[in-house]
Structure formats: structure tokens, C-alpha cells
């Protein structure tokens, strides 16, 4: 009996010792190191590889991949977690973009998402991101209303100034630089056109311009003759056109053929992607506002910014053979910024919108290929050099294939962003 009791005690002590040793080993192995980070960071992107925005998707992808390559060359996030890009084709349709986004979240289990080429689609994805718990940053220019305090997902930021800023810059240039006070505004019938119009109105109010004419056109209009005839009849100082993409190619071609250039100045917001398709004769003498351009004259920006822009341009040219489009620049910057924000946050999963927002805002001044940038509390970027004004070069003036513009002026700072009071932040 005494022997059986002592055996039981011995067995009990051994079990207790094993349990204690087990706990200690678990603690040393796992708890002290903290929660384990995933072995890779999956970045999802809904890019419109097919459909009307196909060219934009390519430009966005170049920027995203360039940034990922640079981050992974240093080991990835935290120096050890490589970023893996997972894409889906949004087909240039918002309903498809939403479905693909859900696929990325539910099937691919991405940690972060970006995209699309369509502001409306990107807006839907931003709203969906809160429901699915994955941060989302838009790739296209967004309607300024998307950054209203009641609309914006807290973790959503953008490296593109919104449509309001585009319009503000265009009309500020028109009045201040070109002395064109009487503006004929040509708006696309959607948030793109109306957002640019709103910004233009603000600039005209500030600088003493007047909107003497206004017309709206729908996306995909193939014949602008009736509109152009009305513009000619109105004889404004300048026509500010919100055509973009294929519409811009068609509009400028027809504007030239109908003699609009002989009557008034014409101003568009454009990019390398679009200018590639514009016949040189149709671009000659047109005032073009661009967000990023590959051939800025020295002296227009500070020497450091000039160096950064040239460096980025060379990088993209060596990898793609073409200069960077603003879509490439923006998506490159967004990936770089989100990487920094995640490292500041110290985690890549279970991120709360407000904590991510705080991490991004705390980054402060962020280096970009266009100089220093910082975000305001509405998630919008403040660039010292926001937009550039260029004059289109004709075929005889061009010295190389992509020599579209002569850049003559720049505008930037908080002035070109919609006021925070307009966005509900004050």
C-alpha cells in the first residue's frame, strides 16, 4: 500500500514537471517572439486589363510592380516579408470590379487591395473594403466627394489629387498664366466632368474668371462637331475641356479640323497614355495640364525634385521603353507609402481603419519621385509641385517620339486641394 502511494506520487510529480516544462518551452518558443507575421504579404489589385480602360491598367501595373520589386529587393516588408501581387481583371465594368475584389479578399485572402481605372468602381471598392475588413487605396483619379468625411473609408488615401484639383489647376492656369478670363467649360456628364467643373469654378472665383459657356457630353461621344461649332460661335478666351482618353483624341482632332484653334485657346488635362494617340497636328498649340511629365525643364522645380523625376523616368524607360504615365507614378507611390505605413504599424493583418489612418498620417512628409508629399486629414496628397502646364508641340518641333509638350508653369500646395470645410472636416 505504501509502495502504491509513493508510485502515484512519483507519477503525479512527473506529470506536473512535464506540464510545467511544456509551458516553459511554449513560452520560450512562441510567446516571447510575439504573434508570427505571415510569410508573404499579398497585395491584390483589380486592374481593367480589358475594356475601355485597358491602357490605364497597364500603366498602373507598371507602377505597382516597380514599387514591389524595389521593396522586395530589400527583403520585403520588415526586411523579410516579400510582397506578392495578385491581380484580377475588372473588365472596365464596376459590377465586375466589385466581384473581382470580393474574389481577391475571400479566395486569395489578400492583405491589401488597390485598383481600378474607374473612379466609380474604385469608390464602390472603397465602401466594400470596410465591410470585408481589408484596406483599399484607389488607383484612378477620384471624384472629390469620395473624400468627404462621411464617405471616405478612414484607411483610404490616394496619391492622385481629386477631380476638383484638376479643375482648379486648369482654370487657375487659364486665368493666371494665360490671361484667359472668359472660359467655355466642356464637362463630361459624370463625376469626372462635374468634379473638374467644381474646382474650375473655385479657381475662377479666386482669380477673377467667368464661365461664359457650358456644355456637357457623354463618355464615348464620337462626333463633337455640334459642340465645337457652339464653342466657335461663343468666341471665349479659352475652352477648358474635360475630355480624356479616346474622347480627347477625337475632340482635339475634330477641334483642329473645324478651326477651333484659330478662334480660341484650348486646354485639356492629359497624360502620356493619351498623348500617344493624339496626332501631333492636333496637339500643337493646345494647353495641356499634366500631373507628371517626363521632360520638365530644369529650373522650374528645385534641383532635388528634378533629379528624382529624371531618375524615376529613366527607371521606367529602361524597364518599359516608354516614359512613365501619371498612373504609373501614382500607383508606384501608393505601394511605397502603404509599405512604410504597414512597417510603422508593425502588422499586416487585422488592421483597423483608424489605426492605419493614424499610421499613414504620422508618416508626415513622404519622398516621392515628384518631391516631398504629405497627406491631409481627408486622405488627399499635398505636393509642392502638383500640376504642370505645357504647350503642345507640333510635328516639326518634336525632337523625339515622346516630345509632346513644352512645360512652362507649375502649381501646387494645399491651394489646389478642395478645402477641408467642403469635405466636412471643419
Amino acid at each position: 500500500m505504501a509502495i502504491k502511494l509513493s508510485m502515484k506520487i512519483i507519477i503525479g510529480v512527473v506529470i506536473v514537471v512535464i506540464v510545467i516544462v511544456g509551458f516553459v518551452m511554449y513560452y520560450l518558443q512562441f510567446v516571447q517572439k510575439g504573434p508570427q507575421l505571415p510569410s508573404q504579404f499579398k497585395l491584390g489589385a483589380v486592374l481593367d486589363y480589358t475594356g475601355v480602360f485597358a491602357a490605364c491598367a497597364k500603366a498602373e501595373e507598371i507602377g505597382i510592380k516597380l514599387a514591389i520589386d524595389e521593396i522586395n529587393a530589400k527583403g520585403g516588408l520588415f526586411g523579410r516579408i516579400p510582397i506578392v501581387l495578385v491581380t484580377r481583371d475588372g473588365e472596365s465594368k464596376p459590377e465586375v470590379q466589385l466581384r473581382r475584389f470580393r474574389e481577391l479578399v475571400e479566395v486569395e485572402r489578400v492583405h491589401f487591395a488597390m485598383g481600378t481605372c474607374h473612379a466609380g468602381g474604385a469608390y464602390s471598392l472603397m465602401k466594400e473594403s470596410i465591410k470585408v475588413g481589408i484596406p483599399f487605396w484607389p488607383s484612378p483619379v477620384m471624384a472629390w466627394q469620395a473624400f468627404n468625411k462621411t464617405e471616405r473609408a478612414p484607411w483610404t488615401f490616394t496619391a492622385w489629387p481629386p477631380t476638383w484639383s484638376v479643375g482648379y489647376a486648369m482654370c487657375a492656369f487659364a486665368v493666371k498664366e494665360l490671361g484667359a478670363k472668359n472660359v467655355y467649360f466642356f464637362a463630361r456628364t459624370d463625376a469626372w466632368g462635374w468634379g473638374i467643373r467644381d474646382g474650375c469654378k473655385a479657381a475662377l472665383e479666386k482669380y477673377g474668371g467667368v464661365m461664359v459657356g457650358y456644355d456637357e457630353f457623354t463618355l464615348g461621344t464620337p462626333d463633337y462637331t455640334p459642340y465645337i461649332t457652339r464653342m466657335i460661335a461663343a468666341k471665349p478666351d479659352i475652352v477648358v475641356s474635360t475630355t480624356f482618353g479616346g474622347d480627347q483624341v477625337t475632340f482635339l482632332k475634330q477641334a483642329r479640323e473645324l478651326g477651333l484653334y484659330g478662334v480660341t485657346k484650348v486646354m485639356v488635362f492629359t497624360s502620356h497614355l493619351v498623348m500617344k494617340g493624339i496626332p501631333p497636328e492636333a496637339l500643337k498649340g493646345v494647353y495641356a495640364v499634366v500631373f507628371f511629365y517626363h521632360d520638365i525643364p530644369q529650373g522650374l522645380v528645385d534641383s532635388e525634385t528634378y533629379r528624382l523625376m529624371r531618375e524615376f523616368t529613366e527607371k521606367v524607360i529602361s524597364s518599359t521603353g516608354e516614359p512613365p504615365d501619371p498612373y504609373t507614378f501614382v500607383n508606384y507611390v501608393e505601394v511605397k507609402v502603404l509599405a512604410r505605413a504597414l512597417e510603422k504599424l508593425g502588422k499586416i493583418e487585422n488592421i483597423k481603419p483608424e489605426e492605419f489612418e493614424k499610421a499613414v498620417l504620422e508618416l508626415g512628409s513622404i519622398p516621392t519621385p515628384k518631391g516631398e508629399m504629405r497627406f491631409n486629414e481627408a486622405g488627399l496628397p499635398i505636393y509642392k509641385y502638383g500640376f504642370f502646364l505645357g504647350i503642345g508641340k507640333g510635328p516639326e518641333e518634336r525632337t523625339y517620339a515622346y516630345d509632346y509638350l513644352k512645360i512652362v508653369s507649375v502649381i501646387g500646395g494645399e491651394e489646389i486641394l478642395p478645402p477641408l470645410s467642403l469635405l466636412g472636416y471643419r
Binding site: 480589358t50 475594356g51 475601355v52 485597358a54 491602357a55 456644355d215 457630353f217 464615348g220 464620337p222 462626333d223 462637331t225 455640334p226 459642340y227 461649332t229 457652339r230 466657335i232 460661335a233 482618353g245 479616346g246 474622347d247 483624341v249 477625337t250 482632332k253 475634330q254 479640323e257 473645324l258 478651326g259 484659330g262 478662334v263 494617340g277 493624339i278 496626332p279 497636328e281 492636333a282
Partner: protein, 285 residues
Amino acid sequence: MVDILIIIRQTLYGVAIGLIFALISLGLSLTYGKMKIINMAHMLFYALGAYLVFTTSILAGNFWYGVILSCIVCFILGMLSEQVLKYLYGKTIEYTLIVTYAILIIGTDVIKSVWGVDFKAVAPPKELTWFIPLLGIEFYRVFVIIICVVLYLSTILFMRYSILGKVITAFIDNDEHLQALGINPRTATIALFALGSALAGIGGALHAPLYAPYPYMASDLIPYSFATIVCGGAGSVTGTLLGGIILGLAYSYSGYIQPYLSPIVTFLILFITLIIKPEGILGTK
């Protein structure tokens, strides 16, 4: 008071667009008027003409090659399309509508896969890009009017004085008499399709520099084409011309007042024509 130059410009624009409507719609008018086939796929020849001229402009730097190529290719394809569409002879209008619309959709997707989805920019030939003094518009827009008139007159003369043209005219008037003369009506139908398709192709090629070729241009022009036919009178060559010009001018003038009025006014005219004279201005009951 509207500037007289604006009126002239709008008139030139309206006549140009109207003549293009007429040229493109002529083949459709004759096949619909005679054979009661609503051939939606006919507009693909218009689109093909535009894209062929775009391609030759890029590859060979020559606009005129594109026009000639459009004519030849669309002529041949027109003949081939008749071989397919002959199975629709005698079928109900609903049936032909569905079949030809399906062909149109297939054709549109073929265009997308070959040429992409972007709008294309086609420059007019350099020798026609000089600006008309006072008017300040490119001469090419006036050239389109001239060439369309020449083509139309040539077609009328062909139909009236050539043997094949007479066969086609006889077929349109009464195919039983044609058969009685020992002439196979299929000769007429093949020629009709080929001629109509070639004209549509040339119309597309001429229109391309004024417009922007894009994949859906064929389907977008269908309502205007049918409006031209119905207003002018299905089966009438002169009626189609008149219908095209009237609608083109209406499109142009109303567009000057407000661009969104163009389609409204155009189809209002169609509506009024159907109420007052359902067979069309020069159509027969």
C-alpha cells in the same frame, strides 16, 4: 442673330452627314424594300470600311489605299454575305432581325479582337487638309459632300444604263418578270448585296476622318440608317438620298442649338413621317 458663317458651316456639316447616312443606307434600303430583310449586319461594312482606312493610314501612310481597299473588300464580303443571308429569304421579319443582329454582335467582337477597343484617330489625306478661307474649316469636309454626290449619281446611272444595273432595277420592280426573261434573280440579289456593301464600306472610309472609328460604331448608326430609309422610302434610291439629307440637316441644326437635341429632332422627323406618309417621302404604297 446667328452668324451667316455658322449657318453655312452647319449646312455643310448636315449635308455631309446626311449624304453619308444615305450612302451607307442605300444597300440596306434596297434589300429591305425589296426582300423585306432587315439586315442589321449591313452596318458592319460601314465599320469595316472605317477600320480598313485606319489600318492603311498606319501601315502605308496612305488614305486612298484604304478607300479602295474598303470598296474591294466590302464588295467581296457583300457577295459572300448573300450566300449566308439567302437562307433568310421568305422568313419572317422577326427571324431575320434576330439572325442579322447576332451577326452584328459577332462582327463587333471580331472588330474588338482585331483592332482593340480604343477609339482610333484617322487623319484625312494631307492634300485635303487645307482650310477654306472665311469658313475656317478643312476642305475635306466639303470633299466628302462632293464624293458622296458623285458616288450616288454614279450608282443611279449604273442602275439605269448598265446591264447589271438594269437587272437589279428589274428585280426590284418585279422579279417574276425577270425570271420570265430567263435571268436568275440570284444574280440581282448578289449584285445588290455586293453594291450596297461596297457603298457602305466607302461611306465608312470617308466618314472615318470626321469621326472616330470604334467597335460599336456599326450598332450606333443603325437607328439613323433605318430612319433614313423609312423617311425617304424603302427601296427608293432617290428617296434614301432625300431622307439622308433631311435628317442630316435636322441633326446638324438642332445640334447647334443643343447637342442633345440632335437625336431627338432626328427621330421626331421619323415619327412625323410615319404618321403622315408611312411609306416614306418617295416610297410607294
